[in-house]
Symmetry: C2
Subunit: 62 residues, 2 copies
């Protein structure tokens, strides 16, 4: 499976926000993240970087 973990980057640190993310859908007011089990989290953030081979999605608060 090629899900990734989403990290929130703040002040140079990356904190795990959501594991096993399958889908990311940007919306006007933030991002919808959905994991491989269909669970969702919404966050007012933007994608700062994807590093898929490392299974990483880096987010930054807007």
């Amino acid at each position: 499976m090629c899900e990734a973990n989403a990290y929130l980057r703040e002040g140079g640190l990356e904190e795990l926000f959501f594991e096993s993310v399958d889908k990311v859908i940007p919306r006007e007011d933030g991002l919808i993240l959905e994991d491989i089990f269909g669970r969702r989290k919404i966050i007012k953030a933007k994608i700062a970087e994807l590093a898929l081979v490392d299974h990483k999605i880096i987010l930054e608060k807007e």
Copy 2:
């Protein structure tokens, strides 16, 4: 390997833009995409959706 293919969505169609993408880095003026071989493409577009289990990055022109 968990790279994904990037597709450009236009008029309801999705056209393959770049294969085996590892990194995506949003910049003010568009996206930098880097494949697993280190080759880069730059496009004035935004991420419309990620579907990582399906190995898909969907882009839309800005």
